[in-house]
């Protein structure tokens, strides 16, 4: 079975934007965000609509950075963590762009970029598309855990859902930073039903994807500057690095995780790190893409990691399943 798709037409990142909330602003990447609302409310009356508005602001920012009007975007692929992806549909409805809602839990960012690439690559006419991913801490707490002001203790393995959004405009044709390959992930049993340890559950999916990628592509580790995972946090990253050290030697040394980069572990009470699909989306937009553009790094594997579960499935004792779709992003300037 072949899983990697090499894009036939070059597809580049035209522009991108990262939007966040209070904790994201306080984190080490805070100043790199395009916009942070320290009230987390984005001028809205509910957390759910605040998330929708955050997605709208992110796409608007990316559009203005590219100098493009929204009516040039031919397809919008977006997702979030709310039921039925309602944050995306509510927040992005005003643009009037043909829309595909995707749900991959926290793997949504890579899933949406991959879906968009596939559409542009196979379409005869499509040249420009956009991908948006959002997650909001308060909306997620309400949906998946306890009320926001509820006073409880969290396990050390628990993660902090980020209030963050990433928006990307992809265009057909060559550019400085291009997506060159993509590979969908497989659904991998995380062998735990502990909702406070999603990083641990997702680590095996990330490993499964990396193993499949290196086996099929025959690529060497030294061709890559970074292997980036979405939100494994401390626990998941430790597990992944141990697995990589045993079978894909060297990969563990270039592994980095967006969930470890977004917050300051000394200052911020985030336990095992950041989670939520906005984590990988915003860190890609404010950290990795700028570095790729500047040529500080040239070649990365980017995998958002998703924990596939629902509040009901957890209460019923079902295992959490992980998924880790993968894309390869390269700086194309002077690579020959």
């Amino acid at each position: 079975m072949r899983r990697i798709t090499k894009l036939r037409t070059p597809i580049h990142f035209d522009s991108w934007a990262a939007v966040g909330g209070y904790e994201e602003r306080r984190g080490p990447l805070g100043e790199k965000f395009d916009f942070c609302d320290i009230s987390d409310k984005f001028g809205q009356s509910t957390w759910e609509i605040a998330e929708a508005e955050m997605g709208r602001v992110a796409l608007n920012t990316a559009l203005s950075k590219s100098g493009m009007s929204h009516d040039r975007i031919e397809l919008l692929v977006a997702g979030d963590l709310q039921n039925q992806c309602v944050a995306s549909s509510t927040g992005l409805s005003s643009f009037g762009i043909p829309f595909l809602g995707v749900y991959g839990a926290c793997s949504t960012c890579t899933e949406s970029l991959m879906t968009l690439c596939s559409f542009i690559d196979s379409s005869e006419h499509m040249t420009i598309g956009a991908a948006v991913t959002t997650s909001h801490n308060s909306a997620a707490e309400r949906q998946f855990r306890t009320p926001i002001e509820y006073g409880g203790q969290r396990a050390p393995t628990a993660q902090w859902t980020s209030t963050a959004a990433g928006a990307f405009i992809l265009g057909r044709g060559e550019g400085e930073v291009q997506i060159t390959e993509y590979m969908p992930g497989r659904i991998v049993d995380g062998s735990t039903s502990d909702g406070a340890n999603m990083g641990g559950a997702m680590a095996f999916a990330a490993f499964d994807s990396l193993q499949a990628y290196f086996e099929e592509s025959g690529e060497e580790i030294r061709n890559f500057d970074c292997i980036v995972t979405g939100d494994l946090g401390k626990v998941g990253s430790d597990i992944l690095r141990e697995l990589l050290a045993k079978s894909i030697s060297g990969a563990e040394r270039i592994h980095t995780d967006c969930g470890l980069l977004l917050y300051d572990f000394k200052k911020q009470d985030v336990h095992s790190g950041a989670s939520g699909c906005g984590t990988s989306a915003s860190v890609l937009a404010c950290h990795f893409l700028p570095m790729l553009k500047e040529g500080k790094i040239r070649n990365i594997l980017f995998m958002s990691t998703g924990a596939l579960m629902s509040p009901s499935s957890l209460l019923q004792g079902e295992n959490i399943y992980g998924i880790a779709p993968l894309i390869r992003i390269e700086n194309m300037k002077g690579s020959e």
């Binding site: 009320p147 002001e149 509820y150 006073g151 396990a155 393995t157 062998s191 735990t192 697995l243």
Partner: protein, 150 residues
């Protein structure tokens, strides 16, 4: 990779909560709340309430303080460290009800607040009543037995 190996890997890399530190903090904060309760009891007695009324007023005051701290967004920050220290006394119950009421207000007063207010506190009410009933039945049988002996 088989499930057993995965479970072991997760266990190996997952730090567990510090039982000693959490117990100590819970003991301190729980004790502190009881001290405040005791001081309130002395205050109400001093103001002329009989012991039973003063006791009820202490409970009501603690519930009120916890509700206000929840509304101001302070309670959860204390509880993060205090754990069972704030959860076990009546303060925990107050927080569970108020936080859920605050959250579900956006969904309306009937199907939001009305239907969801006891989502977190519900088990305490249900099993509180149930255990009260079981205790009552046992006590009743006990009194019957005692009565027969006489």
């Amino acid at each position: 990779m088989d499930s057993k190996v995965k479970k072991e890997l997760i266990k190996k890399h997952s730090p567990s909560s510090s039982l000693f530190k959490n117990s100590l903090l819970a003991f301190f904060f729980g004790g502190l709340i009881c001290v405040i309760g005791e001081l309130l009891l002395m205050l109400y007695s001093h103001l002329g309430c009989d012991e039973k009324t003063a006791g009820i007023l202490v409970t009501v005051t603690l519930i009120f303080i916890a509700a206000i701290l929840t509304a101001l967004g302070i309670f959860d920050k204390i509880a993060r460290h205090a754990g069972a220290g704030t959860l076990v006394p009546v303060t925990g119950f107050s927080n569970a009800v108020v936080s859920e009421a605050m959250d579900s207000k956006s969904e309306g007063y009937v199907l939001g607040v009305g239907a969801k207010i006891y989502t977190v506190a519900g088990p305490v009410i249900l099993y509180g009543i149930l255990s009260g009933f079981v205790y009552g039945v046992i006590y009743y049988i006990y009194t019957l037995v005692e009565g027969m002996k006489l």
